[in-house]
């Protein structure tokens, strides 16, 4: 039988100890129980003292930081609702978009940049359009890149998020989508490799420099599944620590498109780094292109182009792939006949039109890999419409 008096006295004493009282204080309060109370409280103190040290816990925490950050980097909707509610939300968003467009703000927002008041409107509008037409994903990704370029050009301070393929990697920076990102603040991690498609969160400063806050791999790199290697091997001394429970391997995030067939032929083994000489321009391979023709029509030799782009097998280039050429290739109307392209035909619009406006319009659907060239359009486009879409 447990004496009620002691039960209460003990409980009260434990509460007091937690608030900083000493054991003696407690004994003074309950002299009638002092003898046993003292022993009991000493036992309790022993439990507290025998806990692992804060240092040990902190080390453990640091070892787990990387994994936690990674899990966190996936986009997190605030209070993401169940599917049914999601429809309601979508409807609400669409109404909002309509209202915004009606008010003209939507159009104004179109050109806004991260940090602008209307930028949020722009993103909302994109979300709404995206849910109607997922094919716009790539176009919107390109927008993020363009915005980043603009922000950098304007020497504006802003937080940027964009996705793209890594062009080259140096000790403390990477080149991606024509931008240079300082990667030195990032914790130790699997080394990045050209050809990897990543999502970059970065901040720009008033000098136009981009510093990475976080980089997330969007697809496994050509040679290794970086994700499985994980767990900052440097940090953990214990071989037994298994990433078996790797929780949702975030490798394929649903929000960023995995649809892009962005295969970069091996930049691997040779350790070749894609680094175009000055003056070379970026070009997105289209269906029907082949490397020798591109090289010829841009004034380069096949060998040189292959070497610069780390292309080992010149037969293998893929629509949507990004390569560098000495100049923009002379346009399709002048191109020699392409041999084996069943893709060409009817379905999609003639390449010239497709070129413009990173896919604002719905035409883009048929060509998910379509990307917009950075700046060189004006040179090339004989006839077309660089659509009304301003930048």
């Amino acid at each position: 039988m447990i004496e009620p008096g002691l039960v209460e006295a003990l409980n009260d004493s434990i509460n007091r100890l937690a608030r900083g009282a000493s054991v003696s204080d407690c004994l003074r309060r309950y002299p009638q129980h002092a003898a046993e109370l003292e022993r009991l409280l000493e036992m309790g103190q022993l439990v507290r003292r025998s806990q692992s040290s804060i240092e040990e816990a902190q080390q453990a925490r640091e070892r787990g930081q990387l994994q936690f950050d990674r899990a966190l980097m996936e986009p997190m909707p605030g209070a993401s609702p169940v599917p049914l509610q999601r429809l309601a939300q979508l409807a609400a968003t669409l109404v909002l978009v309509l209202m915004i467009f009606a008010s003209g703000a939507g159009l104004l927002a179109e050109n806004s940049l991260p940090g602008d008041t209307l930028y949020g409107v722009k993103l909302i509008t994109e979300q709404a359009r995206l849910s109607l037409n997922p094919g716009l994903q790539t176009a919107f990704e390109q927008r993020r890149i363009d915005e980043a370029h603009q922000i950098v050009g304007l020497r504006r301070e802003a937080e940027l998020t964009f996705s793209g393929v890594i062009d080259s990697v140096q000790a403390s920076q990477i080149d991606i989508a024509g931008l240079t990102v300082d990667t030195s603040p990032l914790p130790e991690r699997e080394p990045l490799v050209p050809g990897q498609r990543v999502e970059v969160r970065a901040v720009s400063d008033a000098r136009g420099r981009l510093t990475a806050r976080a980089i997330r791999l969007l697809e496994p790199s050509p040679q290794t599944d970086v994700m499985s290697a994980t767990e900052a091997p440097a940090a953990t001394p214990h071989p037994t620590r298994q990433p078996t429970r790797e929780p949702e391997r975030p490798a394929q995030s649903p929000t960023v498109s995995d649809r892009t067939v962005d295969i970069t032929p091996s930049t691997e083994a040779s350790g070749c780094t894609v680094s175009p000489p000055d003056g070379w321009v970026a070009y997105t391979v289209q269906a029907g292109d082949n490397l020798s023709t591109l090289a010829a029509s841009s004034g380069g030799s096949l060998d040189e182009v292959a070497a610069v782009n780390c292309v080992r097998d010149t037969r293998i280039i893929v629509a949507g792939q990004r390569i560098y050429l000495p100049a923009q290739p002379v346009r399709p109307t002048d191109r020699p006949t392409i041999t084996e392209e069943p893709l060409r035909p009817t379905a999609t619009e003639p390449p010239t039109q497709g070129r413009d406006a990173g896919g604002q319009r719905d035409r883009d659907e048929g060509r998910p890999q379509q990307r917009r060239e950075p700046t060189e359009e004006s040179q090339r486009d004989g006839e077309s419409s660089d659509g009304g879409r301003g930048r």
């Binding site: 509460n15 009991l40 036992m43 022993l46 025998s50 806990q51 804060i54 816990a57 902190q58 929780p247």
Partner: protein
């Protein structure tokens, strides 16, 4: 004296509110501020660092996932975290199983200015104490770790363990007596600090 301070309750509510709004930074802060208590709890219960790390990591991952699904804790963050930690331990080991003493623990580093013998005794006590705690039942262990180790309130402890307040009061007395019995079987010097 090991002093552990959990963030105070208003700070906790603040963090929760921000986390519900999708604030990544809040979640990072939660990880930073709450990792240690959770780790310590798990560590005491499992007596193994690596298991404790794994389980602690799982707890915080579950937190992230929960927020992502709109099911993050509404009322008490600490309550949620400790509850999940409890369950993870049971998932890992099953209930009622005595944890086998796995790896011989390292000796804690000695402070320089103490006499070697005193250090040894103090160190051994901690080890002995830990193992003694592990001789208790699951409930007894938990109540002692939560009430004395983490200094949680009676109500918080009751919520975490899914029991009535009165039950906890009885339990803590029984647990302490049981611990005393276990320890009295070994030669023990309790050094008051």
């Amino acid at each position: 004296m090991i002093v552990l301070i959990l963030p105070d309750l208003s700070a906790e509510d603040d963090l929760l509110a921000r986390a519900h709004r999708g604030d990544h930074e809040a979640l990072r802060e939660i990880y930073t501020d709450y990792y240690t208590p959770i780790y310590q709890f798990i560590r005491m219960r499992t007596n193994d660092r690596h298991t404790a790390e794994d389980i602690a990591a799982e707890v915080f991952l579950k937190l992230v996932r929960a927020f992502r699904q709109g099911k993050g804790p509404r009322d008490s963050l600490r309550g949620w975290l400790f509850r999940v930690a409890r369950h993870e331990i049971y998932d890992h080991y099953g209930r009622g199983k005595r944890f086998t003493e796995t790896v011989l623990e390292e000796w804690l580093p000695m402070p320089d200015d103490d006499a070697p013998e005193a250090q040894f005794i103090r160190t051994m006590n901690i080890e002995t104490a830990r193992r003694a705690v592990l001789q208790l039942t699951d409930d007894q262990q938990e109540v002692l770790i939560l009430r004395f180790g983490q200094m949680l309130s009676l109500q918080e402890t009751a919520d975490i363990m899914g029991k009535q307040v009165n039950t906890i009061k009885q339990l803590q007395l029984r647990a302490l007596r049981a611990l005393e019995r276990v320890l009295s079987q070994t030669a023990l010097e309790v050094n008051e600090r």
